[in-house]
Amino acid sequence: MGAGEKNVVPALEARDLTLSWDGEHIVVQGVSVDVAPGEVCCLVGRSGCGKTTILHALAGLTTPVSGRVLLHGEDVTGRPGRVSYMLQKDLLLPSRRIIDNVCLPLVLAGMKKTDARAKAAPLFERFGLAGCERKWPSELSGGMRQRAAFLRTYLMGADVTLLDEPFSALDALTRTDVRRWFVGVAAELGLSALVITHDVDEAVSMASRIYVLAGAPAAGEPSHVAGIVPVERVNSEHFELTDEYLAAKREVMALLG
């Protein structure tokens, strides 16, 4: 496969996914999503429209009624452990020190504890966690815990990361800080990410493309992709104040209805 051809293959692709909670009740119908290598995309939708259901299917935790999930072109439908997944809650294990929490994916994959620690330790500084190695999760602030959770996600080793409202448990100021930090780190590490959020501002400030999900599965109307909004990032310093930002936000709001 040539280098040019490789760039065409999305890092993550969902083709025509139809998902259900119980096998009868359709939640999401015919959803297709793709994330290019190194791209951060957002999936926006109202509460209960099936965003997390989609992420579960992409993570391989559930098998779709129909449709396929491709990772760099390889079919990984219903196979967990191929993409990194970070949930809304940090889900750090209270009984393990931070270093052992972030090492968890390595140790679970069979790496020796000492080797795993040696691999993770140099990353603490880059993830803003220097000095926290031996601390217990309860000794860290919400923002720090989220960084630790992100480092753990990163150590899962997959180049595609799914994030389910990763910043929603943080207070507004910490949230903006951690989000900016995340965008920087993701760009630096060349991560491809699909981020769920119900916060339109968050989506516009992070993503290069926004998938807008519409529908009301609880009322018997399965969700679908109502539109894809590309975000043209012009002035990264004060992007939130530009017309392009507002235009993208308006378009997303209109699609949400």
Binding site: L87, P94, S95, S138, E139
Partner: protein, 262 residues
């Protein structure tokens, strides 16, 4: 209204001590002046005297009771652990045994003890079995609910890390259950002593229960009270031991308490 300030440590220790001292003084006075006849109720001083006099005898009975309680508790914990793991692993096992276990706990220990003695003789076995029966339930229930208390999202997260069932158990479920396990163990530890003593009442040659039966038959109520004190002390000591084990096994709890206080 302003919240009441945390009482100083000295006051926290002194107040209950003074209360106990006052009650003991009252007891001494009530029997001393003859409101309650002495042949029915010994004075605290008499109780302490007989405790000192019979100390070597009590100690040897203590060893037997403790050994029975410890053996029964260890077996009860092991059995409870196995049951809890099976109940967690197999839904059918949970459905089959959960109601049965609840019902089994409504059967009073005192009622099964004579049967156990009848079936298993006057040796240590019926005592150990009774301790197992009475300690097994709190352990199983606390562990089973501890395993179930784990956040399902943690399990999903670990599945995305390709964790095996065993790894999920070891890293997530078992630590999630430790706190409840130790609560159950604390209850079980006191049940263990009481269970052994009750079984000893009904037959045997040695143990605190046997000692109690003998002194009761000879109307030595001071010695009766002395053995009650010993049983309480043993139960308390075991509970403290469990607390110590809990602190050692759960170092993160101290960090959690500290950050809660901040």
């Amino acid at each position: 209204m302003a919240s009441r300030p945390e009482p100083a440590r000295a006051r926290r220790v002194l107040t209950p001590l003074l209360t106990v001292a006052a009650l003991l003084a009252l007891w001494q006075a009530v029997v001393g002046v003859g409101i309650v006849p002495n042949f029915l109720l010994p004075t605290p001083v008499q109780v302490v005297q007989s405790l000192v006099e019979d100390a070597p005898l009590l100690a040897s009975h203590c060893v037997t009771t403790l050994a029975e309680a410890a053996a029964g508790l260890a077996a009860g914990v092991a059995l409870g652990f196995v049951f809890a793991v099976l109940m967690d692993r197999f839904e059918g096992f949970y459905l089959a045994f959960e109601p049965l276990m609840t019902i089994s706990q409504t059967i009073p220990t005192v009622a099964i003890a004579p049967l156990l003695v009848l079936w298993l003789g006057y040796g240590a076995l019926p005592k150990v079995v009774l301790v197992i029966i009475s300690t097994f339930f709190p352990i199983t229930v606390s562990l089973a609910s501890g395993f179930r208390s784990v956040d399902p999202d943690v399990i999903d997260l670990m599945r995305t890390m390709n964790a095996s069932r065993w790894q999920i158990f070891w890293y997530a479920k078992l630590p999630a259950a430790t706190e409840q396990f130790f609560s159950g163990l604390k209850i079980s530890a006191t049940y263990a002593i009481v269970g052994a003593v009750i079984a000893e009442w009904l037959g045997g040659n040695v143990g605190l229960g046997v000692y109690m039966t003998r002194v009761r038959k000879s109307f030595s109520y001071d010695r009766m009270f002395a053995s009650i004190i010993v049983i309480s002390a043993l139960s308390l000591a075991l509970m403290k031991l469990v607390e110590l084990a809990q602190r050692t096994c759960m170092p993160w709890k101290r960090a959690e308490r500290n950050s809660n206080e901040r």
